[in-house]
Symmetry: C2
Subunit: 276 residues, 2 copies
């Protein structure tokens, strides 16, 4: 198999067995969008209005359900309705990072019941393989997929070097459920020993820290452009937060326009990558 | 200053500047208990009944507020009442592990509003120093304290070696807010360069994975005894979950008796440590 980043999203969709990975790749192809928008707001009305505005332009909506002050179970119904109306995948960015028994409860239970509505979630590999098995026990029967945080885009992150290699090895041993990584570049073949053959693996790379106009914030976040991320580094999905929703949450038309600009830049970068 | 694990809890309380660290050390001394109970249940009625039963015997109650299915803000009022009635510190084991901007929202906002009621919380150091500054912006003005996860008790954890050293260095640079570690042994002097003097530091060590009767579970958790943890490894607080609350959540008398046994074992180990 050729390197996955040289293939079309549609081709990769047919090869993936995990239902959430397949759905994401098909959605990207169908909507000509590798843009994910991260909706990091604290009021449900803003949350739903922004998602309704950018929904047609994205493959995926990334949520932090635990920052919504007026959360109730009805909000989930509305989110799921929007996901059907606009045809996008939901990714709750929970960053699970506890022992297997605890993450299984955090994923399935509590007021948020993440596993019941989020197609994709993510976890830090730091607890070891039990974080994956705990989540898989809940998520696999529901057709969910997991991303591991192999790298982070923050200054001074400890997710580097051997840590990243270990994350890839953990994913490879659990590839039925682990569909890819939150990372800054491709992870193919990373962490393989000298005698191990490179496998036919196609991990999805979703990349945060994407911005067109800013280079960083006061809290250690660092930014790169869609072209750097998709074309130069072979990542699959750009995750944009404040670059899309900005500072005036009520101006949904401006938010929609910014999303369209990112969608176009991300898609052009993908076309250049696969056609070169 | 002599090594902190040779000193009495009461002496250490007078030296600590962070209000949450001081409160925890004073509570341990006053109640002759270095036992923390982790109440990992999904029903509020069980949660409150167990805390009411073990409350008199513990220095600290550790919560996973996000696994409670029938959570509402009234539950927090009841938890805070119990903390006053029985004189214990509250530690929400949230394991924050995101960028600064996000953890600040997760800590202050959402339905759980953790910063408003939890004296202590914890974070993984993997995002780098911004996870601490994001949480400190919310927690310091409220007199809260943070524990970093320098190690974990699970099989195959990536929190080891250089990762642990980096965690200690991050704590040392932020010791106004970072009061200690979730770890399996003392961290004093770890990560210091050859030319750096050992500082007068006293990080609290809270240690999970403590059990008297079992050696592990099916999901990768591993156990050690209170004597191993407190006397042999110099840790400060034993965190016990299923070892105390067991499998019959309604038998609060048996739960209370098991808590008393752990309290006694933990305290005896401390007396042996400081008197030897």
């Amino acid at each position: 198999m050729p390197p996955p980043y040289t293939l079309a999203y549609a081709d990769r969709a047919t090869r993936h067995k995990n239902p959430a990975a397949k759905l994401l790749l098909e959605t990207i192809h169908r909507k000509r969008s590798n843009l994910a928008v991260s909706v990091d707001v604290t009021q449900s009305s803003d949350f739903l209005a922004i998602i309704d505005a950018v929904g047609p332009l994205v493959c995926l909506i990334k949520t932090h359900i635990d920052i919504l002050e007026d959360f109730d179970s009805n909000l989930i119904n509305k989110l799921v309705e929007l996901s059907k109306k606009h045809d996008f995948v939901i990714f709750e960015d929970r960053k699970f990072a506890d022992i297997g028994n605890t993450v299984a409860l955090q994923y399935s239970s509590g007021v948020h019941k993440i596993a019941s509505w989020s197609h994709i979630t993510n976890a830090h590999p730091v607890p070891g393989p039990s974080v994956i098995s705990g989540l898989a026990a809940v998520g696999l029967p529901l057709g969910r997929g997991l991303l591991l945080l192999a790298e982070m885009s923050t200054k001074g992150t400890l997710a580097r070097g051997e840590y990243t290699d270990d994350a890839v090895r953990m994913a490879r041993s659990n590839s039925e459920f682990v569909i890819g990584f939150i990372a800054q570049r491709r992870m193919d073949g990373l962490g393989l020993g000298p005698s191990e053959a490179k496998l036919d693996e196609d991990f999805l790379i979703l990349t945060p820290g994407v911005g067109l106009e800013v280079k960083g914030d006061a809290m250690g976040q660092q930014y790169r452009t869609p072209d750097e991320v998709i074309r130069q580094n072979g990542c699959d999905v750009i995750i944009v937060g404040r670059g899309v929703y900005g500072t005036n949450l009520k101006d949904v038309e401006a938010i929609r326009q910014r999303a369209e600009r990112y969608r176009q830049e991300g898609w052009d970068a993908y076309l250049k990558r696969t056609q070169s």
